[in-house]
């Protein structure tokens, strides 16, 4: 039981990635598909923060913290932090594409979109 629980954070990251992919593959609506992509992306945050975590350590905010107190890794947090915000604008691009596709084809179902010229 114990090693399984110790592995759980990484397991959840893998789970979110695969579940999100399942949603993308079986999606019948472009907006649903885009949201599933955001689930896939959130798995990377869980993985990175799990890698940087250190048992019993404090967050990397050094206010009233004695010197040499262990803190969790600030590098992975910095990586996640910017990406969380940038992700939302990337989602906006995808949503804009979905809106235009819906205008042109009259449907948001990816299985009914046909290749089109121009």
């Amino acid at each position: 039981m114990s090693p399984l629980v110790a592995w759980l954070p990484f397991g959840v990251a893998v789970w979110l990635f695969v579940v999100g992919l399942y949603g993308i593959v079986t999606s019948r609506h472009l907006v649903h598909l885009i949201v599933c992509l955001s689930v896939v992306q959130s798995s990377t945050y869980v993985l990175l923060l799990a890698v940087g975590y250190r048992s019993g350590a404090l967050p990397p905010i050094l206010i009233d913290v004695p010197a040499r107190t262990p803190t969790v890794d600030p590098i992975v947090q910095a990586l996640c932090l910017t990406d969380v915000v940038v992700e939302v604008t990337v989602m906006a691009v995808l949503l804009a594409l979905a809106v235009q596709a819906h205008k042109r084809f009259g449907t948001a179902d990816p299985t009914r979109l046909r290749p089109q010229r121009g």
Binding site: V18, G52, I75, L95
Partner: protein, 253 residues
Amino acid sequence: MTPRQRLLVFLAGAAGLAALLAWGVAGLPGFGDHRSAYGQLVTRSSVPLRNATDVVTVVNLDVRGLDTIGEEFILFCSVTAAAVLLRRQARERVGAARDEFPGRRAPGRDDAVLVLGTAMGALVVCFGLYVVGHGQLTPGGGFQGGGILAAGVALLYLASGVRTLERMAPEWLLEVGEAVGAGAFVLIGLASLAAGAAFLQDLLPLGSSGTITAGGTLGLINAAIGLEVAAGISLVVSLFLVQLARIEEADRP
């Protein structure tokens, strides 16, 4: 390909992918055992070298500042791409802003909603400015504060409708804000170069730890990023609003 076949192909692929990911993850150091020399070095030096207590901000804006400029320009490019995709297309025209559409009646606007929503929007904007301003001291900074500021703008729209939003935060203003924010970060870096130091090197007085001037240029960079993120996200939201409320098919000539 039928949905069933597609699902079968996916299941086979996903099983393989999950196995590969599990294999890769099994090779990581155990959860909670992380020791990174880099991370510890940055953590130990951020107060002595920069007087800044939020190590994450130091990493983002100083130690890995160039990376963050890259991230920031991903945001800039995404907003630009969304703007291009959401502008008026051929055979469309920009009509008057409408709050409701045939067959969908909007609920009447309530004074209580307007007053409470505007008051809360103002509070959220103040909180966003606080988070941007104290990024080098406590959790927060330009990215988070910018998101909160954009939430304030969104609240303003929810409380008062699309016409008020267009008057208070017009598109040109958001575009200028985004461009100035993105440019200011690069200019701060170039200013260090012009002064004969390394790109983004901190040349301002470092203030004293725990005060708002701590970290020298970190505060300025946070302000630039906050402006860009707030304007960028608000711009995207207002572009979707224009797309919804104003853009309609033109009558055939």
